[in-house]
Amino acid sequence: MKNICESIIIENTQLTKDYWKLKLEAPTIAKNAKPGQFIEIYFNNSVKIFPRPFSIAGIDENNLVLIYKIVGSQTKKMTSWKTGEQHRILGPLGNFFQINNIGTNVLVGGGVGTAPMIFLRSHLISKGLEPKYFSGARNDLEYFPEEVKNSQLFISTDDGSKGFKGNVVQHLEKEIQNFKQPINIYSCGPKKMMEALKKLGQKYKIKVQLSMETLMACGMGLCQGCAIKTYSKNGEDKISLVCKDGPIFKAEEINFHG
């Protein structure tokens, strides 16, 4: 059940050059949130009027954990938020990842796509499952989920400054034959990466779930602004709303050429 509340900042700390971690007290949202879902953060009296969507990166009792990257004015503003301040948020929003209990769960996160993967991973582990985590980035200045146990963590960078040299999907393809079938892929990251994962899924007949990003106005199905091109079950062109029909889609639903 969606809830609007004045959340209280518990912690707001810098992780790397551009990445920050924000912990917010929001009991009702924390209670209901599932991996893959997101919240909207509201900015009072701002020249930029839209709230900003952020994936839930974890739940810590009554608190939500977010991981955000500074990319523009509002994420920049967030870095000045102090413990104890109140900020209005709405959540949990959108659908969530469908979890498979057998075989291998493979998480693929790139850049800020790391956030929902961290939440999903804790969730899988709490269910006794042992997911493989592929984390890719341009270089070692990006944020990597350090807490993940090394044996299950597969890091890659485009420039080889950390882990495997190459992109995360190449990395995954290299490892995939070692994983127990059936394999389930869950991913969030740049469009290019997700498109490559869709192809990989087709090639190996693997189910792939993707978390999509678009500009959003309302975050809850009011404005129809967050449309993306998709395919219906029988392959017809369709339009879906990321905030309501997503953000999680089956890879085969996404029309990357829209």
């Binding site: 709405l90 404005c223 339009i239």
Partner: protein, 304 residues
């Protein structure tokens, strides 16, 4: 006790002057789990067409200073699905329900109107004339007074329910348009729909909105809306429903003083879904402070 009830013509009395603006509140039920949607005086539906429309391709929205541009393209589930899926929610809804109708030609408007006239929980209509007429080469119904008059005049014979026409500000003289609405026997006029607006991504060179030019809304356009309401209030006797950038209770009072009988909240829903609650609280405290017994008495009372 402050009386917030208002009438928009004799046909519709609202518990308060706050309604939702078409296309900014889904079908009316989306927010019902987040806020108390019964707080509104009325709900104006998303623009409905006869058949479902998937709307325009993405990107459909972009932020602009204190505003936004949209080009949703009247995406909607179509008349039949609307009636099937939403009837139950609306039958139990407290406030008034006004259906916004958008057709691509005259007949489409009339067919929808005739069907909905028979539906009990539909209290009235808002006619969206800001859509292009496919038959006439895509000219907007809402930019030429005679053209619009020809579209709306027959509507009066099709329904006795509350009938309101929503005007576009993208005309030289909105008051002249409103006079035609009055002449056609409609019960009220609502204004403003969005202004034309566009934005271009300077790195890709691509328009930020699929249709290049979209509709500008939000706080940025409030002064334009107020100016239009002031002009129209002088020109016509039918009630005006004010729309455009309303964010706070102060804004609502401003519209009423300018000449509006009621208002619709639009873009504000995206950045403050709870606005209706805060606005109603302000209206009560304003009336108390200013010693106003009936809020409706301030309509058009600006010292102009």
């Amino acid at each position: 006790m402050v009386d917030l009830t208002i009438k928009i013509s004799d046909k519709i009395e609202l518990q308060n002057p706050i309604m939702t603006a078409s296309g900014t509140f889904g079908y009316g039920d989306e927010l019902s789990t987040v806020i108390n949607t019964n707080l509104y005086g009325g709900i104006v539906s998303k623009s409905l067409s006869l058949e479902p429309r998937i709307g325009n391709p993405p990107p459909r929205i972009v932020e602009t200073p204190s505003g936004m541009i949209n080009s949703i393209g009247l995406a909607n589930i179509g008349l039949s699905r609307f009636l099937d899926e939403k009837a139950k929610y609306f039958q139990n809804y407290n406030g008034k329900i006004i259906i916004n109708i958008a057709g691509k030609q005259d007949d489409e408007f009339y067919t929808i109107l005739k069907k909905l006239d028979k539906i009990e929980w539909v209290h009235g209509f808002e006619i969206n004339v800001s859509c292009p007429n496919v038959k006439e080469g895509g000219i907007q119904f809402g930019t030429d007074p005679e053209f619009m008059f020809k579209l709306i005049q027959p509507m009066r014979d099709l329904t006795d329910k509350f009938l309101m026409v929503k005007l576009s500000p993208n005309v030289t003289d909105i008051a002249q348009m409103a006079e035609k609405v009055q002449l056609a026997g409609c019960d009220a006029v609502s204004m403003i729909n969005t202004l034309y607006g566009a934005a271009i991504d300077i790195y890709s060179g691509k328009p930020k909105i699929n249709t290049v030019v979209g509709g500008l809304s939000g706080p940025a356009i409030k002064p334009v809306a107020i100016a239009n309401v002031i002009k129209t209030y002088k020109a016509v006797d039918i009630p005006i429903v004010g729309i455009g950038g309303i964010t706070t209770g102060e804004d609502v009072i401003e519209f009423l003083l300018a000449g509006a009988s009621a208002v619709e909240l639009g873009t504000v829903h995206f950045f403050n879904p709870n606005a209706v609650d805060e606005i109603l609280q302000f209206l009560v405290s304003y009336c108390k402070k200013m010693n106003i017994k009936r809020l409706r008495d301030i309509t058009g009372k600006a010292k102009i």
